[in-house]
Every structure is written in C-alpha cells, then in structure tokens.
C-alpha cells in the first residue's frame, strides 16, 4: 500500500528549510510544521537543505516531481537560490518565500530584512555607547546572505557615527564555541579598546558573553545579538545580555502556511508581508517571553 498516496482533496505543501541546525530557522520551521498540523486536510512535508544551495535545488525538484500543491521555500541564498525559484515558477506551482528573498520573486514573500536586523542591533550599540567607542563584530559564515546583509546594516551605522570604531571583526561561523575562543583571543589582543560586541546571531553572542563573564569584563562591554533565541531572552532577562533583535519566527511560519493555502486554493494573497525586526531589551522583554 502506498502510505504516501494522497487522499482526495488533501492539500500537499512542500517546505524546504534553509538549515535546521541553526536555531532561528529551526524555530521558524517548527512553527511552520506545527501550524500546518492544526489545519485539517493539509499535509506538509519538510526537508532540510543544510545551507547547501545545490541540495535545496534538488529538494525543490523533488517537490515538483511530487506535484505538490504549493511550496514554501526558505532560500539559502539571495543570488544562488534564484534558479530554484525560477524552476518552481516554470512548473506553475504556487511559491511562498519566507525569511529570505531571491533575485526572482515568488508569489508571496513573508519575512523581514536582514539588513534591518544588522542596523537595529548596531543602532542599539551606538545609543548605548553614546556614539563613542570600540566595537568588535562576530560574523556568521562568510559569504552567506545573512552575514553579508547583517554586516551591511551594521556598516551603515558605523558610517553615521564617526566616533564608533570597528576594532576588529572575524568570522565565528555562527558557532558558540568558536565565538567564545575568538572573544578570548580578542580579550588578549584588544583589552580595554572595545566597549561593545555585535554578533551576527545570538549563538555567537552567547559565546562572547560567556568569554567576557569568565574574564570578568562583562560589566564594561555591551553585547548584542540577533534572533531572540530562548537562551538569549533568558540572558536578557537576567541582565547578562544587553539586547537581541527579535525576528518573529512564529509569525513568519504561520504567515507562510496561510499564504501557501490561499495560493493552493487559487485565492488572492498579498504579494509581500513584512514582519519587522524588533529590538528586545530588559524593558520590553515581557512582550517576547511566551
């Protein structure tokens, strides 16, 4: 018996997640799956592209071969994922892009702009330092869209505040342990010359935080990350982490499933739903803790 045979009238949605080992995307993907489960008559298949454009392309082709009713794509890259989007559009299957745009547009986009995230975080640092001081930046994996855009957003802020100095910047590949080691080395190299650390994600921010705390330097240094993962929120609550930037994973997840269903039923659906980033500090924390 074909257990996978589709029941009459059931809507099948294919969802390719960029990388389930990254906490933010994992949260987003979980929201997509959970929300789809609450919808009767909907079956959602999730696959993990593990940050590999080519792998994600293959997954998209597999969805097309399955003749799914709609595809939700969380693209790996801005440029490189474009052919996958084009292939879907050529097949006529409705496409929802979530959390990352590509050169070609889908039928609907749900998300936020990584450029803004970098800008918001850096603005918060600038405000905290009153426009004066040294900053260290922890990059994600070099060349990925999120890294490039978060860096660009931050750089815009540096341009605005001549008093802010980028003391050093280096990749820690989104990884907490690597960020920790890197921060330890920076503490040796630049002790006293930096007042803030901006990490491209919360994982790395947590690593930087642990290294600073272990060296007894946290009180002198502002640390801000992006994503508002659970541990970061707790750390903000405990007053250890200064701030993080909230990206509404659940909102994006739900929005993309809704959009996919509308498109699958050939109903009108907004071209773009922007879910803005929000800075999370101790003051507005209660909004974000469930």
């Amino acid at each position: 018996k074909k257990t996978e045979a589709r029941k009459e009238g059931e809507i099948l949605i294919g969802f390719s997640s960029r990388d389930l080992s990254a906490e933010y995307t994992a949260k987003l993907s979980e929201a997509v799956v959970d929300y789809a489960n609450t919808k009767p008559g909907v079956k959602l298949v999730m696959v993990d592209a593990q940050s590999d454009v080519q792998k994600q392309f293959s997954q998209v082709e597999n969805f097309i071969a399955q003749k799914v009713d709609a595809i939700i794509l969380n693209p790996c890259e801005l440029e490189a994922s474009t052919p996958a989007v084009d292939r879907i559009k050529a097949s006529g299957i409705p496409l929802v892009l979530v959390n990352q745009v590509t050169k070609s547009a889908g039928d609907s986009y749900i998300g936020s702009n990584d450029f803004d995230a970098g800008r918001i975080a850096m603005e918060a640092i600038a405000k905290k330092l009153k426009g004066q001081g040294g900053v260290l930046m922890l990059h994600g994996i070099m060349g990925t869209s999120a890294q490039l855009q978060r860096e660009a957003g931050a750089r815009e802020v540096f341009a605005k505040y001549p008093g802010l100095k980028l003391v050093d910047h280096q990749t820690a590949s989104w990884d907490r342990a690597k960020a920790m080691a890197l921060t330890e080395n920076w503490i040796q190299a630049h002790k006293g010359k930096f007042q803030a650390i901006f990490a491209h994600n919360d994982e790395m921010a947590m690593g930087a935080l642990l290294a600073l705390e272990r060296a007894g330097l946290k009180k002198d240094v502002t640390v801000i990350g992006i994503d508002a993962i659970a541990q970061a929120l707790t750390a903000v609550k405990e007053g250890r982490l200064d701030a993080t930037v909230f990206q509404d994973a659940v909102g994006q997840g739900k929005g993309s499933v809704d959009a996919a269903l509308l498109l699958a039923k050939k109903q009108p659906c907004p071209k773009e739903t922007m879910i803005p980033f929000k800075l999370v500090t101790r003051d507005n924390l209660s909004e974000f803790l469930k």
Binding site: K1, K2, T3, E4, A5, S17, L20, K43, V45, M46, V47, D48, S51, D52, V53, Q54, K55, F57, S58, Q59, E61, N62, A65, Q66, K67, E77, L78, E79, A80, S81, T82, P83, K103, I141, M142, G143, T144, L148
Partner: protein
C-alpha cells in the same frame, strides 16, 4: 580483463541494496517510479558524480583529496568572474574554471610527490587555502550576473540535462582510461604497491601527479557546472562535498589503501547516495530521522556488499 568485468557481479550486494531501496520507494510513494523523477535523480547526482569519478583516481593511488568542496567553490568563483554577459566568449569562463581546478590539483600533486607530505595534510591545507582564495577573489560576496550562454550549461539537450551528459561522458572516459590505457593501469599499480611499481620502472611520481591533476580538472568541471546550475559563483559553496564524493567511491568498493576499485563501483555508490537522498525527501521523512536512516542504509549496504563479496 576479468579483474574488471567481475566488478558488476562483485558489486552485486550493492546493486541489490539499490534495487531494494528503489523497490521500497516505488511501493511507498507514487512519485519515485517516473521518468521525471529519474531525470531528477540523475541531475542531482551529477555534480557529486563528477567529483566522485575524479577522486577515484586519487584514491586508487592510495591518496586522498579533502579539498574537493573548496576547489569547487574556487573554480565556480573564477568561472563566474569571467562569465558576465557580453564580456568574453563562453569558452573563456569554462576554461578558467577548469584551469583553476587543474591548477589546485597539480599543486596538491606536486606537494605530495616532490614535497613528500601526506596527501591528507596537503589536501586539508588546500581545503582551507582554496576556500580563503574563493572568499578573497569574490570579496566574500556571490559573483552573480552570469551570461545566459554559461547558465545554459545547466539546461537540457534532447530532454537530458547537460550536467547528466557531462557526468556520463566523464564516467565513460574515466572507465575506458582506467581499463585500457597504460597510464590507467599504472594508477592501479602505484596504489597497489608503490615500491613494486617503482622497481618495475613505473614513473610513480608522474602517475600520482596525473591522478591529482585529473581530479583537479574534474573538480573544476564540477565547479563550472555548479555555478551554471545556481547561476552564481558562490564562495561558500561545496561545503563537505568531498565527504559525499569519497563516500560514494568507498561504497563502490574502492579501497582507501589504494590499488583496488573501479568506475562502475563508483557509479553505483553515487547512485545509492542519490537514491537515498531523493527517496527520503519524497517520503517526507523528517530531516532528523533522514540523517539516521541515511547513515544506517550506507553502512548496511557496504556491510551486505562485503559479506557477499567474501562468500
């Protein structure tokens, strides 16, 4: 030669596993058994296939190449840099990509043969060096805006994807070369017993250099094909591709100790990995479980294969 023809039969266990997996997938899903999906699988395995054929040469000489993934990225970036529309003929970016790959392969080969450094270390070094160079040349940003002539390389001819044709062509030439050419047999001899080969007058150093060079050339080709497929030269592309490629080759019966292995085996290994990836996606298995199942099938397939080979 019996030593080679035996191979398909020899790899009967592997073929059996592939057929079993295929059968299971045909029963479980109604999408696996279709021409469109077979084209899909073929297209999806072609890059790993080209890499696997390339690294077969190196593994046969008892070497290893860990730099495949990074060199794919570097060649892709190099190719894309010369592929902006209206600048050069389409052959220039292709040649640049192939040459970049070949150059990396030859550097590996020279360090292994002249430098006497273990292939593991040489190619691990090349892995980080090529990645760094790809980032430097591209400024860390994807190199986009590629001409349509080049991206057409990822399209179809007579309904068959060009990457698949590339893979098939590469595999056939490699098979013929290893089987019928003196240099091909010398690759086996060097891997089987380097001292014996040297004592018999085989130019061991040249043979190894050739193997690394060929591997580099095919890695460059994979880089060009990937760039065409994703329409960008992506400096962080190809992460861990070497593992999939080497896994395919070893699954196909090539010994990491050198001297034993065939292209047909490599093809079966590539196919097994491709079918598993495709099938698990089609079945909608959750990704966490996909990882576990994939690992179990690969180890199980090789175990079965070796068990029947022994009996």
């Amino acid at each position: 030669m019996p030593a080679l023809d035996r191979n398909l039969l020899h790899r009967f266990g592997l073929l059996l596993v592939i057929l079993l997996v295929g059968l299971a997938l045909s029963l479980w899903t109604d999408t696996f058994l279709s021409l469109a999906n077979f084209t899909n699988v073929a297209r999806q395995v072609s890059i790993n296939g080209i890499l696997a054929v390339g690294v077969t040469f190196v593994l046969l000489t008892a070497g290893v190449d860990l730099s495949l993934g990074s060199v794919v990225a570097l060649s892709g970036v190099a190719c894309a840099t010369f592929a902006h529309p209206g600048e050069y003929s389409v052959f220039v970016p292709i040649a640049v990509g192939l040459l970049t790959g070949t150059a990396c392969g030859l550097v590996n080969g020279v360090l292994v043969t002249r430098g006497g450094v273990a292939p593991f270390i040489v190619t691990l070094g090349m892995m980080t060096i090529a990645r760094g160079l790809a980032l430097i040349f591209s400024g860390g940003r994807p190199v986009a805006n590629m001409s349509n002539e080049l991206t057409a390389l990822a399209g179809d001819i007579w309904g068959i994807p060009i990457p698949v044709l590339c893979f098939a062509g590469v595999a056939f030439v490699a098979w013929y070369f290893l089987r019928n050419f003196r240099l091909g047999r010398h690759i086996y001899a060097v891997g089987g017993n380097e001292n014996a080969a040297r004592a018999a007058g085989v130019p061991v150093e040249r043979v190894k250099l050739l193997a690394y060079g060929l591997c580099g050339l095919l890695t460059g080709l994979a880089g060009v094909v990937l760039a065409a497929r994703i329409t960008t030269g992506q400096p962080n592309a190809g992460q861990a591709y070497e593992l999939d490629a080497i896994a395919a080759v070893v699954i196909g019966g090539t010994s990491l100790a050198g001297g034993v292995g065939t292209i047909t085996g490599t093809l079966l290994g590539v196919l097994l990995i491709g079918v598993i990836n495709n099938g698990l996606d089609l079945m909608g298995v959750s990704s966490y479980y996909q990882a576990v199942i994939k690992g179990v099938i690969i180890v199980g397939a090789v175990w079965l294969d070796r068990r029947q080979a022994r009996s």
